[in-house]
């Protein structure tokens, strides 16, 4: 019985992972050879791919409950190997990954079905589903990964697809600029994840999540890594999670991400993408348990983020931004829970919050109609909520905080002044030196060739 359950779990996990990947491969290849499928065929392919993944994911629940060990490692083989070094394709099926797999598959299916109608006759209909399949494949890879290397691959796929979804309406300059900003934040924070993996290899000698918890099932894993190394790795993982989940000081990308189409917003910052940060930290929980400094950092950053988001969210004038900041408030609270040492609570919080927020964002385009219906039903204008706390403050403080919230706590300005600006200056200085040197060698006028990095008016990417 045990072996049957094990085999079943392996098969279901494999199907749940590969279904979105097959969809991605089909859509991608057809587009690449210049034969993109019609809307109808795309819709059928998407339905088939996501339904298959959803059924397989749902099947994992009874399979996991029936298994005595409450966890399984699915060995898919070796991707490549050389003299003791190998990248193993291993899936981790346990009480952490299965809820996320089910959530991912269900939300992909719901958003796919919604988008089929929402984007009907949109010129980039096929491209949206290609990116959705890429995001789905990446998310599945992250949540099912049995090794940190595999998780990193999925993490990167989610990052690129998210940025491209933000810039989905590519004929307008604002989405394009915002897509680049999102990608920059992601990419730089991803260095934390890879650096953490590098240190993990160095400290533990393996990047297997199973071995990270000494073989015990989640959330009972125990790490034997030295405290110093566990702290360093946890902080690096926390950096990656902060970028992916838009925590302070990286929250500036969140309102910029509103430029994407509503269905991608629902799955991107409402449900899956922003919760991958908490997922990563929960997966690395054995290390966090040995790193009180990193745990404290999570509590502080999470609390700051929750405070920031609830403050800024109150002054937003469009529903998508308001929902995004509401989402961020909850994500901040989830980080606090993880930092305080809870494991099952943040997991339940993630799943519940993702479902609620997705529903709200998918309904956002119909918000005016919904409000009018409710107001008609109650026979009057709905009262404003959330103003009690604000009225407790003195009027000067109210004005000051209102301005501060409108400017989103100046976080982007802070990043621009402290990081982007100096970096740009340094690069510009280096480039000027390069040009002068080569012009001197070649015997041309340096100033005539000095085109790089000088500010020019007009649209900037």
């Amino acid at each position: 019985m045990e072996s049957v359950t094990q085999t079943l779990m392996e098969a279901l996990a494999l199907v749940a992972l590969t279904a979105p990947m097959c969809l991605l491969a089909c859509l991608g290849l057809m587009g690449l050879v210049g034969r993109p499928p019609t809307e109808q065929i795309t819709g059928r392919m998407v339905t088939a791919g996501f339904l298959t993944s959803t059924f397989a994911a749902l099947g994992l629940i009874p399979a996991l409950l029936l298994s005595g060990a409450r966890q399984a490692q699915v060995e898919l083989g070796t991707w490549y190997a050389f003299e003791g070094h190998a990248l193993y394709l291993t899936l981790q099926v346990d009480r952490l990954s299965v809820p996320f797999v089910v959530l991912t598959a269900l939300l992909l299916g719901v958003v796919g079905s919604f988008s089929h109608r929402y984007l009907h006759r949109e010129p980039s209909y096929g491209r949206f589903f290609l990116l959705l399949a890429l995001l789905g494949s990446g998310t599945m890879l992250v949540v099912l990964a049995g090794t940190a290397d595999m998780a990193f691959a999925g993490w990167e796929m989610v990052g690129v697809s998210s940025a491209l979804l933000v810039g989905f309406f590519y004929e307008r300059p604002a989405p394009v600029r915002n897509a680049l900003w999102v990608f920059v934040i992601y990419r730089l924070c991803d260095v934390g994840l890879f650096a953490g993996i590098v240190l993990l290899h160095h400290a533990v000698g393996s990047d297997s999540f199973h071995l990270l918890g000494a073989g015990r099932s989640w959330p009972n894993g125990v790490s034997t890594a030295p405290i110093g190394q566990a702290t360093a790795i946890s902080i690096l993982f926390a950096l990656a999670a902060m970028g992916k989940s838009a925590l302070v000081p990286f929250s500036g990308w969140l309102p910029r991400a509103m430029e994407g189409p509503t269905p991608s917003s629902a799955i991107f910052y409402g449900a899956l993408s922003v919760h991958l940060g908490p997922y990563l930290l929960l997966r690395a929980a054995p290390l966090l348990d040995r790193a009180p400094v990193a745990a404290t950092l999570l509590v502080v950053v999470g609390a700051l983020t929750a405070l920031h988001a609830t403050l800024v969210g109150r002054v937003q004038t469009d529903i998508k931004c308001a929902l995004a900041y509401a989402s961020l408030t909850q994500v901040g609270v989830i980080f606090v829970e993880i930092g305080l040492g809870f494991r099952l609570l943040p997991l339940a919080h993630c799943v519940g919050h993702a479902c609620l927020r997705s529903l709200q964002i998918l309904r956002a385009p119909s918000m005016l109609s919904d409000v009018h219906e409710v107001e008609a039903a109650v026979g009057g204008i709905l009262p404003r909520s959330g103003i009690v706390l604000g009225q407790l403050l003195p009027s000067t403080a109210q004005r000051w905080m209102y301005r501060w919230a409108l400017e989103r706590c100046y976080l982007d300005a802070l990043l621009e002044r402290c990081a982007v600006g100096p970096f740009r200056e340094m690069a510009a200085a280096a480039d000027r030196f390069e040009r002068r040197w080569t012009d001197r060698l070649g015997g041309t006028d340096a100033s005539a060739a000095d085109l790089a990095l000088q500010p020019t008016p007009g649209k900037k990417p």
């Binding site: 690449l32 990193f152 999925g154 004929e171 890879f194 650096a195 790089a452 990417p461």
Partner: protein, 456 residues
């Protein structure tokens, strides 16, 4: 027929050199293209066939030989040059340019077919000549800058080889001179300034023809790694450190560029420097990572360069500080640009990811900071790539009525490169296996002691 390239390693270089002469005498672009493409295709077929179907290579002991290292490098070079020849726009395919391109290919093929230090020095000195000749017709100042670096590099290598950089008792002075020559040829700091200029002011084919073979990496494998056993890891680690600094520096400066070709130059400089980082770790996995990145970044950046050139022909100067749009009018070009660009910086699902993973794993055993430096450099290069994609293809509606679609030969080459990088990224086993023997042979030749407790 295919086995003949093992019996006569001079066959491919000779064929290309003869074709170069014939092309130079052609009277029209069409006939020059036919002759050139035919010769390049035959060279590619011979080398690929030799790799896939040929017998296990054996050392012939002569001046020219195809061994486990060159067995994969030759198909790589001939395929990349074939892509350049086929996908270059018509204005780049005048008989004189094509003849120089074929001559450059012949010299590189000859270089990759020899292990003799003297011949390496000779082909090393000759290989920049066709590129320099083409640059002179376009921009004399650029040709002068290029000549200063390439000429100095050739002189240093010749002096190093003359002093004795190889064998069981290599001269330290010879090794230092060879190392300096390699740094100059590869565009490693502080000898890197010519690389962005070559891409910005030169024709794309000249930049690709000189950079993509990565003759500097070949010289490391042939001249420096064998000397490591006698002189220790010091010289190699010095090169690796300089290469890592170059990768980071190129990535930082590349992010802020306002001109697409110059930005590509910095990305190429940065990514190709990572190949040296891997080779100079002289660990089995690091070497494997370096050799794999040699192929992956070379093919991806060749495709990226060709895509940029195709766009430049249609649009003129490519600026990154304005949003140009045109995605819906050139969807294949935009998609190919994005995929090739991401492949060059190690996006999952492409061969670049495998190469970067191996490279980092090879480095972390002994020096974890090298691994983190590699990741930081590729992260910054990734930002440059996406920035270029968004600026060149998005952000505006292109209203020009001029037809801008790709020609079939351009589509064919870009699609082939994309599929090749994706296929080898998803199934990397054959590529990794093909490099395994080269790594073992290099380590055997180096006779190195283990580098430390962290070495795997």
């Amino acid at each position: 027929m295919i086995e003949s390239i093992f019996e006569f390693p001079e066959l491919v270089p000779a064929l290309l050199a003869i074709a170069s002469l014939a092309v130079d005498r052609s009277l029209s672009v069409r006939s020059a293209t036919r002759i050139g493409a035919g010769a390049a295709a035959v060279a590619c077929a011979l080398t690929v066939g030799g790799w896939v179907l040929g017998p296990p290579p054996e050392s012939h002991g002569g001046h020219f030989t195809i061994d486990v290292l060159s067995r994969v490098l030759l198909p790589y070079v001939t395929f990349a040059f074939l892509c350049i020849l086929v996908a270059s726009p018509r204005r780049d395919r005048d008989p004189a340019s094509l003849a120089r391109l074929l001559l450059a290919e012949a010299l590189v093929a000859a270089l990759f077919s020899t292990r003799s230090p003297g011949l390496i020095a000779a082909f090393w000195a000759l290989s920049p000549v066709p590129v320099w000749a083409a640059l002179r017709t376009r921009s004399r100042p650029v040709a002068k800058v290029f000549a200063i670096y390439a000429g100095t590099s050739a002189a240093l290598l010749a002096a190093g080889v003359a002093l004795g950089s190889g064998g069981d008792d290599p001269s330290a002075a010879g090794v230092v001179l060879v190392a300096l020559a390699i740094l100059m040829h590869k565009g490693v700091m502080p000898f890197h300034s010519w690389v962005p200029v070559l891409f910005e002011k030169g024709a794309m084919w000249t930049a690709l023809a000189y950079m993509l073979p990565q003759a500097g990496a070949y010289a490391v494998m042939r001249l420096l790694v064998p000397a490591a056993g006698a002189l220790g890891r010091g010289p190699l680690w010095a090169i690796a450190t300089a290469a890592l600094a170059t990768a980071l520096y190129g990535a930082v400066v590349g992010v802020g560029q306002r001109e697409a070709m110059r930005a590509l130059g910095f990305v190429v400089m940065s990514q190709f420097a990572l190949v040296l980082v891997g080779l100079d770790t002289v660990t089995s996995v690091g070497l494997l990572g370096g050799l794999t990145m040699w192929l992956s970044s070379g093919l991806a950046l060749t495709g990226l360069g060709l895509a940029l050139r195709a766009l430049e022909v249609r649009r003129g100067t490519l600026r990154l500080d304005i949003l140009s749009g045109g995605h819906d009018r050139m969807p294949l070009l935009a998609a190919a640009f994005l995929i090739l660009g991401l492949a060059s910086v190690g996006f999952p699902g492409t061969l670049g990811f495998v190469a970067e993973d191996l490279l980092v794993r090879g480095a972390i055993g002994t020096y974890p900071h090298v691994g983190i430096g590699i990741v930081l450099a590729t992260a910054l290069n990734g930002i440059t790539i996406l920035r270029a994609y968004l600026a060149l293809f998005c952000g505006a509606r292109e209203t020009s009525s001029v037809a801008v679609g790709l020609k079939p030969r351009e589509s064919l080459v870009l699609t082939a490169l994309v599929l090749l990088l994706l296929f080898t990224g998803i199934i990397p086993g054959p590529v990794v296996a093909s490099r395994r023997e080269a790594v073992r042979a290099a380590l055997q030749g180096a006779k190195l002691p283990p580098p430390g407790p962290g070495h795997h």
